[in-house]
Subunit: 239 residues, 2 copies
């Protein structure tokens, strides 16, 4: 998967304008996305699985960069998991108007007859935080040397969190974003800030924040693919 980079291509600093990011574990992300990815949020903070990892290219090997992530609401709805009341329609995945955004459309999958249903307007947005990759800042050469992994990033639903974790509303949908920021050594570099970064969004990484898994197929795929959940695997081992 290659990320959409937004519409503006004008006026970027040459240290970031050629930057490119390839999502790692793309097929796993797509497998989750087809079912409707769910990510657990807890008071103490929970890692994402799959982990957000990218392979970078096109950076200036000798320049300094900061790498970071943030999470933007995909819509202004809150959701619930369950059976729709009447017949088809009325807000469930892919039914209403406005669902004609191919890459952002919710998954069509439903477990037995349960599915994600819109359930009113979004709650007030949580404090918008960012997560800096802990190796930041580092040279372009260092970032491009190997896969960059955001495995220290944790998601929480605690609005008062003071561990620096990403705060999300449960039962709301989010799109992870990844940003490459050139550390401009010039004085008053703030005035060029808008030119010095490049952002990437991978649609297959969007997810629903939950406090407990709703879709059993998501649970089973997490158990099957996350090494830390091996204790819940049933039968035949497949490497």
């Amino acid at each position: 998967g290659w990320a959409s980079e937004g519409l503006r291509s004008s006026g970027k600093n040459r240290r970031v304008c050629h930057a490119a990011a390839r999502l790692e574990m793309g097929s796993l992300w797509e497998e989750f996305n087809r079912l409707g990815t769910e990510m657990i949020v807890t008071k103490a903070g929970r890692r994402m699985f799959p982990t957000f990892q990218v392979k970078l290219s096109g950076l200036d090997p000798l320049a300094d960069y900061v790498l970071l992530m943030d999470f933007i609401p995909l819509d202004d709805k809150r959701y619930r998991w369950g059976r729709s009341y009447g017949d088809a329609g009325a807000g469930e995945w892919g039914a209403g108007p406005g669902s004609a955004q191919p890459l952002l459309a919710p998954p069509r999958y439903a477990f037995h007859s349960s599915s994600w249903l819109a359930a009113g307007r979004a709650d007030p947005a949580a404090p918008g935080r960012v997560h800096f990759h802990p190796d930041s800042p580092a040279k372009g050469a260092q970032w491009m040397r190997q896969i960059v992994s955001f495995d220290k990033l944790k998601l929480t639903n605690n609005l008062l969190d003071d561990n620096g974790h990403i705060i999300l509303n449960s039962m709301h949908r989010y799109q992870p974003r990844f940003h490459v920021v050139f550390v401009d050594p010039r004085r008053d570099s703030e005035r060029f800030a808008h030119q010095n970064f490049k952002s990437f969004s991978f649609p297959e990484t969007q997810f629903m924040a939950v406090t407990a898994y709703q879709n059993h197929r998501i649970t089973q795929l997490k158990i099957a693919s996350n090494p830390f959940a091996k204790g819940f695997r049933d039968g035949d081992p497949e490497p």
Copy 2:
């Protein structure tokens, strides 16, 4: 414990000349040192215990620094652990002339009648490596914010090690050294390199490199004080 800083006090850059380092866990280091500290070296690399940790002060909060460690031979001897052959003298701890260096003198302790005995000239010196603290480079403010811990540093006796570990000769004595290096942003800053660092040696951290512990009292103190060795503790717990 405060470190000796070498004899030269002239011509240091103002970004390092006020730097100070206090050794953490000083009483534990001294307890080991009284018995004659031993550190295990293995082919794969072994951590030090106690871990080398310092609290820094006197740095420029806004300047960049690199922190690193190296290990210098304390003498040109190789040692063995055992009973001396004849009567007192002939090379054991504190017996010969030249042992009049108060801070570098070997410990007087002997287990039953065993002790460390000089056993000839040192083996050829191992490749002199340094260990950069993995957070390097970082601002002075960041380094001074909390204790700086070198818990990722590993010691090996494998001369061909390619994991970047510190290579030492077993049965030889070493003095850990700690260096604060100001990252000079000036062009051709190499020419000022000798002014841009400050070094610290804590005599209580000197040790004998071994492949297996020789002094049983060292073994018992390691077991009593290293959390990872809790499985070997016998009786009463003392916090």
